[in-house]
């Protein structure tokens, strides 16, 4: 393991890779700051550029973009109360009031220090957790992988929130359906290609990600432009940042919050489907309760703790979400799904074998995540006043550029103009579904896991002589499937059972 870490360190610390992580952080911050564009779009936009790179370098660049985009999202949350992604919504609760009090610089510094600390603690936990899980996962068979993927997909739907579970499940099924388009890998028979040779290879992952995220987000911004008052507010916000210094007593107040939220965030991030959003809200809620009545009342009005907690937790959760991706090859979120797509395009199959066969890639990604955190702190923070000027670029110039980069990113990989038309079709469909409030991330996750799920199931059936008994005879598979069922049904049925029990108790009370 030590050898692997050293190998990863030497790869990550090579001048070209250091440069890449710095560029990644910078570009990521830039893209993440644009309201509406989150880490998924940022990474999707970078994939075509990294095709010519060595896998480790490409992934390092994307890890930088990932962190940069999250930091950029926090910046727009704090400055203009416009979180780019759900994971930074809780950041705006206290960050924006602080900015309105003229302390935007301080709020950004707190966000950066918290992100850095959260990232650091999570990177250490990742260093310990990933190899141990990789060792355990060596005992996994195709049947268990199939069950794990079912768990991943149901967890995403289960965490979609009240009233959205069925919608998230439907979108997951839609993603799985789209993954069946193209030549069936098992027997080489075309499926749903409608005689089109362009569909024989299936729908490209990059095309789908770019169309349903970057392109559809740009179209949404075109459909519903911001008001003049909002634009004025953005211009004002990027002009007056104030001092970036944090007083010593506030740093002291932050320290325990950061420690707790890092650990919480990391473990929530490891759970498939939970991710940064839940981690940040959970950390915010817990810290508000722990702060006591006096300090707790300051939450939502510019509290230091209220800003530090979600910022730490969302960064730690991002590192945590890499654990299932790197060790099992199963992404737990839309962002890690797109990272998986990138890994596969380099011919790297994440999972326990990655740890053994490509230790340089495995460790350099983990180490570069940490380097990314350092760069964000020492390079991006001082540059924020300049990067924030991106908010001043008029949307009539910016939006066509985003559309162009999305289209060309896909076209430059295939050089097939059919892909551009297909992207427009998917983007229009995605805009329609977004307007109807259907989530996109489960669809992307279903799409990326669809092919792998089918392959594992086919392999499992071949091992068990075409019999489905493995679903209930193999203990590990059965346990994972039971957990998947619990994850999905307990939140749905739980409240109803509680209500029935309460009613019975009431009736019993009246009777007695």
């Amino acid at each position: 393991m030590i050898e692997g870490i050293l190998q990863g360190l030497s790869t990550a610390a090579s001048p070209i890779n250091l440069l890449m992580v710095a560029i990644g952080c910078f570009v990521g911050t830039f893209i993440g700051m644009l309201p509406g564009l989150g880490p998924i779009s940022a990474i999707a936009l970078m994939i075509p550029i990294t095709y010519g790179f060595d896998p480790a370098t490409g992934l390092i660049l994307m890890a930088g973009v990932y962190y940069g985009a999250i930091f950029g999202g926090s910046t727009s949350s704090i400055l203009i109360n416009a979180p780019g992604v759900a994971g930074t919504v809780a950041t705006a609760f206290d960050g924006y009031p602080m900015a309105r009090q003229g302390k935007a610089g301080k709020a950004l510094a707190i966000a950066a220090y918290s992100s850095f600390s959260g990232g650091t603690i999570a990177a250490i936990l990742l260093l310990v957790a990933a190899p141990s899980l990789a060792v355990v996962s060596r005992a996994f068979q195709s049947t268990d992988y199939f069950a794990l993927m079912v768990l991943g997909l149901t967890a995403v739907a289960a965490f979609a929130g009240k009233g959205n579970v069925v919608k998230a499940l439907l979108m997951t099924v839609l993603g799985l359906m789209l993954s069946t388009v193209g030549t069936d890998k098992g027997v080489g028979v075309p499926r749903f290609t409608f005689g089109q040779i362009d569909l024989a290879d299936g729908i490209s992952f990059l095309l789908l990600a770019m169309a349903t995220f970057a392109l559809s987000e740009a179209l949404m911004a075109i459909l519903k432009p911001k008001s003049d008052a909002d634009r004025k507010r953005e211009m004002e916000a990027q002009k007056n940042l104030g001092s970036m210094k944090i007083p010593r007593e506030e740093l002291k107040e932050m320290a325990p919050v950061v420690g707790r939220s890092s650990i919480l965030g990391f473990f929530v991030g490891v759970l498939p489907g939970a991710g940064a959003t839940i981690a940040s809200f959970l950390a915010y809620g817990i810290e508000q309760r722990l702060a006591g009545p006096k300090k707790g009342a300051e939450f939502g009005k510019g509290s230091v703790r209220g800003l530090a907690a979600p910022e730490t937790a969302n960064n730690a959760a991002c590192s945590g979400s890499f654990v299932p991706l790197l060790t099992l090859g199963i992404p737990g979120s839309g962002t890690t799904a797109i990272m998986l797509g990138a890994l596969l395009s380099y011919g790297i199959q994440p999972g326990p074998r990655l740890f053994e066969e490509n230790p340089d890639v495995f460790w350099s990604v983990i180490i570069s995540m940490y380097i990314g955190n350092v760069i964000l702190l020492i390079l991006n923070l001082p540059l924020i006043p300049y990067i924030a000027r991106v908010l001043a670029i008029p949307s009539n110039i910016l939006l066509p550029l985003i559309v162009f980069f999305s289209l060309i990113g896909v076209y430059f990989v295939s050089f097939n103009t059919f892909d551009i038309q297909l992207m427009v079709l998917f983007a229009v469909a995605a805009v329609g579904l977004r307007l109807l409030d259907f989530p996109m991330a489960p669809m992307l996750l279903g799409f990326i896991l669809g092919g792998m799920m089918e392959e594992n199931l086919r392999r499992a059936l071949a091992i068990y002589n075409d019999s489905w008994v493995f679903l209930w005879e193999r203990g590990l598979t059965l346990s994972i499937l039971i957990i998947a069922a619990l994850v999905l049904f307990v939140p749905m049925i739980g409240p109803k059972i509680t209500a029935v029990l309460a009613r019975r108790r009431e009736v019993a009370g009246e009777g007695g």
Binding site: I49, G52, G163, N164, V165, V166, K167, L169, L170, V173, L174, L176, M177, T180, D184, G186, V187, V189, P190, R191, F192, L219, I222, L223, K224, P225, P394, S395, N396, I397, L399, P400, L401, V403, F404, L407, I408, Y411, F412, T417, F418, I420, Q421, M423, V424, A427, V428, V431, G432, L433, L436, D437, F438, G450, E454, L457, R458, L461, D466, W468
Partner: protein, 153 residues
Amino acid sequence: MLTRDRIGALLLLAFSIFYWSRIDDIRLLPFQAEAAFTGRTAPEVLAVLGVVLSVVLLLKPGSDAGIEAKGYRWGTAGLICLLMVAYGLTVRPAGFLISTSLFLAFGFFILGERRWLVLLGVSVPLVVLFWLLMTQVLSVYIAPWPEFMDLSR
């Protein structure tokens, strides 16, 4: 009531039924007649799941929110979509430099930019710089000029 959830459910139900109807087009190889898992198995399971979930959402929508069509710039977004389609059709015959510069300039114009200096002053240099970056730095060949001017053909 036709809520947002119900409209989405109807659309996805239609898609699932269409998907289901095309499963028979998947050819089964002779040796697969008795197999437990064929190229049709996953699509069949997914089609059933799609139909069942859409019907569940149709009967029990998660929210009562209706649709709002006001305040959206449908025309502008539609024009940008048409522009993208046109770009897809012209990028090869007209060459990267001309088609992309026009795409960006028209894009800026559709979104309300009327200054000629901005329309061409931003799009043309940006496209040329981007082309130079891709071809010279990242070694990706992109035909710059229209097909009839390509001497290598």
